[in-house]
């Protein structure tokens, strides 16, 4: 009776996915044993985990649920003479080689450099159809929340947990709290998912989602395509939420249909029927709810050293003197000092040194189209890197001539990878340089020691590239 009552209680999307993966329920003494459907692996956070298995004589429990690629430490410059990749340094090359060795000895499907399906782990998972609604997805990477755009429960884990999942396909987890972000209305023309998510993070704060799984809901979310939904869910961790989720719908199913790892034919129909039951029930309760009006969102840009320090591109940076408390004042002052901005300064027209278009946030085909629309027929005035998220994105972009637009504008068209988002592969800023970047983190030195990052959408980044300064993509001259 109790179980039946529970099954009729309205549940959130998160609760449905969580409940379906509990191997052993949590008690006051122990967390739940939670089953993992898909484990994504890359070179940076896995070597010590594979070593753990080797040390303890353990095998990989489910090679069929494990998928690896190389993205962080990999070069995005073309192969050198003789076809060899030119690594940033020997350590990066050794780390990439270690992943190949580990995947070979443990039997993991690997998409190495040069492979037709290689790319940023959070780009290729969905692209291959490996990410599906209702799944639990983990990866040793905090931007794993990306996969929540499909109605999966997806979150980043540390290397110890990578080892546990390799060995047991399970994790010990306490059930997080739930937060619904309702986005009403419609985004204005020319305003995209990146602007929206920066506005959400600015509203909630850089720690505002800690302890929660966020569900993004409302008409403005429903209206987004899958790539845009991924951009929103991707940045959940930037407000402290380990996971973000979006209810699956026809947009989701259409994206997934016919992909390499999605079920086919009758099996797809069956899967779709079960996926349709996933959205939060009417009356389901969230621990917290916030609302935002999409119509009020403007092109956003960050001025500071965390992603919540975002403002409309036309606005002035804050004045610490007006801060509510001493702690906030100190944070604002420290960020302004690092960024070299003066209180109350407007960013429009501020000189920029580099533009980076790429990362697991904004390196998919629609992102590149958005940048190309701005750059077409214009010349970039500063160093501009365009780094597709995957080999597949690169092929598709080239098939529609986007690479020509970028090259003719003077931008560098690169091989797929994380590149200057995390600056591990030799693509990095010099000290003091300003970069308008479509990536996800503007932490001090994130794109290279002493570098200064302004996060923005592909359109705003492209506008900065052609203007040579911070610019409003809605009001570009020439």
């Amino acid at each position: 009776m109790e179980a039946e009552a529970a099954s009729h209680r309205p549940r959130t999307l998160f609760e449905k996915v969580w409940d379906a993966h509990v191997v052993k329920p949590e008690t006051p003494d122990a967390p739940a044993v939670l089953y993992v459907d898909l484990h994504l692996v890359h070179e940076v956070t896995s070597p010590q985990a594979f070593s753990l298995l080797a040390e303890r004589g353990l095998r990989l429990r489910r090679p069929d649920r494990t998928l690896a690629t190389m993205d962080h430490s990999t070069p995005t410059t073309p192969r050198g003479p003789g076809g060899a990749w030119v690594y940033g340094d020997a350590q990066a090359e050794a780390q990439v080689r270690r992943l190949s060795e580990n995947c070979r000895s443990f039997g993991v499907e690997l998409h190495p450099l040069g492979d037709a399906a290689q790319g940023i782990v959070h780009v290729i998972g969905p692209e291959l159809g490996a990410t599906q609604p209702g799944m639990t997805v983990v990866c040793g990477d905090s931007h794993t929340a990306t996969h929540g755009a499909f109605g999966a429960l997806a979150f980043g884990i540390g290397t110890s947990e990578v080892g546990y999942v390799l060995a047991a396909q399970c994790l010990l987890q306490r059930r997080p709290r739930t937060l619904r972000v309702n986005v009403d209305g419609r985004l204005p023309a020319g305003i995209g998912a990146k602007d929206l998510v920066l506005a959400i993070i600015a509203k909630l704060g850089v720690g505002g989602g800690t302890g929660h799984v966020a569900e993004y809901a409302g008409p403005a979310i429903r209206a987004l395509g899958m790539e845009a939904r991924m951009t929103v869910s991707n940045m959940s961790i930037e407000m402290g939420a380990r996971a973000g989720m979006i209810a699956p719908d026809d947009t989701t199913f259409q994206y997934l249909s016919g992909r390499a790892k999605t079920p086919r034919g009758e099996a797809f129909e069956q899967a779709m029927a079960s996926w349709r039951a996933l959205p939060s029930d009417a009356g389901a309760r969230f621990d917290r709810e916030v609302s935002l009006d999409a119509a009020a969102v403007e092109p956003m840009i960050t001025w500071g050293t965390n992603p919540a320090q975002a403002i409309p591109v036309t606005a002035a940076v804050p004045d610490p003197a007006l801060a509510a408390d001493a702690g906030t004042r100190a944070s604002l002052e420290s960020a302004l000092r690092y960024m070299g901005f003066t209180p109350g300064e407007r960013l429009l027209g501020h000189p920029v040194d580099v533009v980076f278009i790429g990362s697991c946030t904004n390196s998919r085909l629609p992102d590149l189209r958005e940048a190309a629309t701005v750059m077409k027929g214009r010349k970039v005035r500063l160093r501009t890197l365009v780094v597709p998220g995957s080999a597949a994105v690169k092929r598709e972009a080239e098939a529609e001539g986007l690479d020509r637009i970028f090259r003719e504008s003077g931008a560098e068209w690169r091989e797929p990878g994380c590149s200057m988002c995390i600056a591990m592969n030799g693509d990095h800023l010099e000290r003091g340089q300003y970069c308008v970047s479509t990536s996800n983190r503007n932490f001090e030195g994130r794109q290279g020691a002493g570098g200064r990052t302004l996060l923005a959408s592909p359109a705003t980044a492209a506008a900065a590239a052609v203007a040579g300064a911070v610019a409003d993509p809605r009001r570009l001259e020439g």
Binding site: Y35, S73, T144, E161
Partner: protein, 193 residues
């Protein structure tokens, strides 16, 4: 993992909010394939100048920081990436506890896997800790207490299972592997095997 039952140490105070994992250990130090020796990269961009010389004004470089194993930091410590290199670096540099008003989820999880105690205290207690750098504190996991500078005791929350693992120096893997039968049954129930 070294068991952690009681800890007595001076504090180092890093009075900044939102200290992110890129500050704790910048990404260029993540190209290693083991976990040893990362302590020298801890807070690298704050600790060393462009030429690699220690910045004398950074708290970790002051003589009184030597030997301290409790770090008191501002709100939302450890936000950002999932890199376990962050707690590896802190532990390698001799830290066994991090105190703040809030600690980011993934960092907290990673810390617990490495014998680094995440202590979340109320703002009033936190203010006293921030105001007394170098104070000698005693932390006891038996009753989840810590002594405060100038007298008094504060209590902090810690998951019962995490506390057991810390106090006994065991990791979670043994516990999970012991559930192998339940995991297989779960897979069978889903029609997989």
């Amino acid at each position: 993992m070294e068991p952690l039952r009681k800890l007595r140490s001076r504090t180092v105070v890093l009075a900044k909010d939102h200290v992110d994992t890129d500050q704790i250990i910048p990404a260029r130090f993540l190209k290693c394939t083991d976990k040893k020796g990362l302590g020298k990269a801890l807070f690298s961009d704050w600790r060393y100048d462009e030429a690699g010389a220690p910045r004398p004004d950074f708290v970790l470089n002051r003589p009184e920081a030597r030997g301290a194993s409790i770090l008191v930091a501002g709100d939302n410590f450890g936000c950002g990436s999932s890199r376990e290199h962050a707690p590896w670096a802190l532990v390698d540099a001799g830290f066994r506890a991090v105190l703040s008003t809030s600690i980011a989820d993934i960092f907290k999880n990673n810390a617990l896997k490495n014998g680094l105690l995440p202590v979340v205290v109320e703002p009033a207690a936190h203010a006293r800790l921030l105001a007394a750098p170098g104070a000698e504190l005693a932390i006891d996991l038996a009753d989840l207490s810590l002594t405060l500078p100038g007298g008094g005791v504060a209590h902090f929350p810690l998951d019962a299972f995490a506390r057991y693992c810390l106090m006994n120096g065991v990791d979670e893997l043994g516990y999970i592997l012991a559930e192998a039968e339940a995991i297989s049954a779960f897979e069978r129930a889903r029609g997989e095997r």
